[in-house]
Symmetry: C2
Subunit: 457 residues, 2 copies
Amino acid sequence: MTPDLLARLREQVKSNPQTVTEVIDQIKAPDAAELINELSLEDAAMTLMMFPIEEAVAIFNEPSCERRHEIMEILESDRAAEVLKKISSDERSHVIRRLTPEGRAKLVPTLPENLQAEMRMLLQFPPTTAGGIMSTEYMHLSPDSSVSEAINHVRANSRQRLHIYSCYVLDDESRLLGAISLRDLVIASPGKAVQDVMRKYPISVHCLDDQEKVARILAKYNLLAVPVVDDSKKVLGFVTIDDALDVIIEEHTEDVHKLGGMQALEEPYLASSVFDMVKKRVGWLIVLFLGEMLTANALGYFEEELDKALVLALFVPLIVSSGGNSGSQATSLIIRAIALNEAKPSDWWRVMSREIASGLVLGGVLGGLGFLRIAIVSMFSTTYGEYWFFIAITLFFTLVGVVLLGTLAGSMLPFLLKRIGFDPAAASAPFVATLVDVAGLILYFTLASLILKGRLL
Amino acid sequence: MTPDLLARLREQVKSNPQTVTEVIDQIKAPDAAELINELSLEDAAMTLMMFPIEEAVAIFNEPSCERRHEIMEILESDRAAEVLKKISSDERSHVIRRLTPEGRAKLVPTLPENLQAEMRMLLQFPPTTAGGIMSTEYMHLSPDSSVSEAINHVRANSRQRLHIYSCYVLDDESRLLGAISLRDLVIASPGKAVQDVMRKYPISVHCLDDQEKVARILAKYNLLAVPVVDDSKKVLGFVTIDDALDVIIEEHTEDVHKLGGMQALEEPYLASSVFDMVKKRVGWLIVLFLGEMLTANALGYFEEELDKALVLALFVPLIVSSGGNSGSQATSLIIRAIALNEAKPSDWWRVMSREIASGLVLGGVLGGLGFLRIAIVSMFSTTYGEYWFFIAITLFFTLVGVVLLGTLAGSMLPFLLKRIGFDPAAASAPFVATLVDVAGLILYFTLASLILKGRLL
């Protein structure tokens, strides 16, 4: 759909929702879902009443239709029941999970008994497992049928609008024997048995596997879908690559939020309440604040030195921020390398030696700049006093040290977290910075005591 | 493949590569690619010589086989030529782009003339555009053939091991008329014309569209593949959802690196040279360092106040880090919301009002903790002197102020960057922190002057 058409339709929906059917034919469901997102709940429900039922079903099938569970509750009950019956099983369980208890009590009994039983089965899986996100409408074939019988079966049982990702070949107890794509069926000789043309040992996932693991398997093996089995290898459903794409995007959002030093939001930013958002942010902020309080202790410990050489105080923010910045770079590099399996826990010493080299070079560059600043200012003024050279030397070595500390803490912390069973992404930039700050200040004043003793101190 | 088998195979490849063929039958190509990644170049080439040709081709078809272009150059030339001829067109152009000039000169002329012409066409597209990542082996049908003729055409032209994502219906000048899935062909009546059963107005992308845009379109419209067309709507090839998945994962890596305050690495972490890595990191570190130098100027400006009330210096790192941490949270929230299109540039004032509310609450919490610390310490000691209450009040209001500054800078900077045409992800945590630090110090000493005047100052 062209942006022009979208703009025109948006105008029309806003100004005169009654006439919207005129343009419906040209709309694709994801675009319609975006429009629905912009309307009030009441207008959204009204608009969905005006769409032909197939269009309404297609829109409710879109995960991007943000408030579909809320809309479902205020739709006229006949239409709600019909939509709920016709959407795909994974989206149905997604919506039902989010209904209010009243909504559930009202809507679930309108489903045919077989779908109700299926829902009971799906809802028992945690929502972020393979079982929680799978669809159940797979095409199953028996091993002894011929290829032409199989094609006829597909023809008779294929539902409108649904892709057929793969057909699964099951034994009498619904256990997975093999998989066969429609293409393989079409090019096979019609008289052969399905079991002779299917692919054996297909990859499958367990119903309680985490959705992230499922997504990684789909991506790694270039699969369009993967069957989901239970303990006895019985096929329960399948997860498709477009579900995996949604999972990967969701997990990435979580990672970015954690990297920013907070708990991940579950809802889109503007859809979360301010209260909820503060709740996700305040915990880490407090932890970091309490950790950072140690800097006040460290500075208090060196108060005598500060009193004698107040000039040292001027560079405190510069020093702590340099450690934090180099740590932030290192942790974002390593978190991503771990997530992509480019760096394994056993690689920690390779990473460490690389980060020592990088830290020394980067620290040398920043230290040099710090030295230059003091030297240049001292050519034209007496700001830094007669011992400016020794102050500059102190700053140089401190910067080399804190940048090195930053790269080491930033690169090793994700490995450590992973080793003790936490998410490496919790090694956020602020967390690393806080760790480095106290150490950086201690280094600074220790070096200053050594270099400036008998001069300023 | 089970981890056991993988471990066994890894052992075997390492200890006795000659016997590896015994276990080859059970390996899937992505697992084999992982193994190959762990070998030296020479061993990798030797192992690939021992695999049956279909297996070798399957491994070279894996983007996860990291050094396939380097391996290609040292393979025996007959095998290299055969692999290059048989891999899919998108992987072939990927590999050829990365060959040395000598490798190219040696290998490209071994391709059949039609593939050489195709390569010339593909290589003219920038590598991150639709044209640069597309495959050319699509199934094309003419609008007037019957469904049964179309199925026969598919049967005759379907290449081993390749999915058929969709068949495209083209006119005499190769312009896109419609798309039809194999499922639609199978369930349609055999006598109908293709143009009567195809889906009209299929979504397509332009060959120069950025790969990120192509990935978003595939994800949004739940497509398994999207056709790539040129200016005259002629179909050149198609991009599949598994390519899109690779693109999205790559873009995520870029975002995380930028968020960490550096340029994105192009190669995997351990595959990049230390020199290259330092180059990507040093630029931003210098910019941030120069910006942060302003804190030394600010503190220099308030040196007199510091001299009178040295106790103020103790809280400098605590204050600047609190602004940085709240800014880091806000920027990671907003960058992700912008990337997911959850927050549009026109939403900036809604975001701002939410961030003002959050900033005040979060600042109040941290300010309260800061106040408590001074109060509690002052019950038991004289560390903060007789005016501890006023110092605590100064710290409270400063923390409210810097946390608010942090949330505002962190949330508005991504919008600003997007507006002026930059990547919002450049609003890294360190960048936001640097912006807030100077302002935070000025606020601190200004409040201190007001509150402590006639007391400490």
